[in-house]
Subunit: 125 residues, 2 copies
Amino acid sequence: MAEFFDCNPNVLNNLELIEKKMTQAATECGAHVVQTCFHMFSPHGVSGVVIISESHLAIHTWPELGYAAVDLFTCGENCDPKIAYDFLKAAFSSKSGSYSELRRGMLQADTVQKKPFFVGQQVEV
Amino acid sequence: MAEFFDCNPNVLNNLELIEKKMTQAATECGAHVVQTCFHMFSPHGVSGVVIISESHLAIHTWPELGYAAVDLFTCGENCDPKIAYDFLKAAFSSKSGSYSELRRGMLQADTVQKKPFFVGQQVEV
């Protein structure tokens, strides 16, 4: 979970650039890009997501506040979201930011499906 | 931030259904859907995002574990992400889940741009 303060608002309000930098951040940190989806708000602000094989990166920008909120959701051992954080902090010319890691999906034996799921056995719902 | 355990794997592996339920969850909790973006993984698992005017809802499913990780990222006073959580817990037939709220974007005077940003003054970057 990343916050970027005091960013360059001209970057934060540029959809093409935000999409490019978010996609690069995914690749830089070892992720594999599957799909991207970005939206420009009126009068300003960009929201977007890069779906990666390892989960997703999401961003919301408030150019008028110089602020961007970013999620770097990864799984597996081959991605380092901190690399994406450092990359984006530089890309946004952010003068201060915060980065915190939250672990999730800590499955315990009693919460996991008792029977393994096989695609061939999927039923219509 | 929501976790859903012990879900119906047939729901978690159905892209159309997941997209429909996530979009409904957004509307139910008072959000306005802007764009959706979903991906089916092989051999199983769905990742997707609903971009809303108020930020986004994201999901990753592991049908083989009966597990889904969901982000319900909202801003403003008109959305209640807990409603989306309850809606999705029922939609996934999840027997146990967890829901936690994290506040972010707590801007302080010294981290906000000193000069307001006007779109008309945007410069090329």
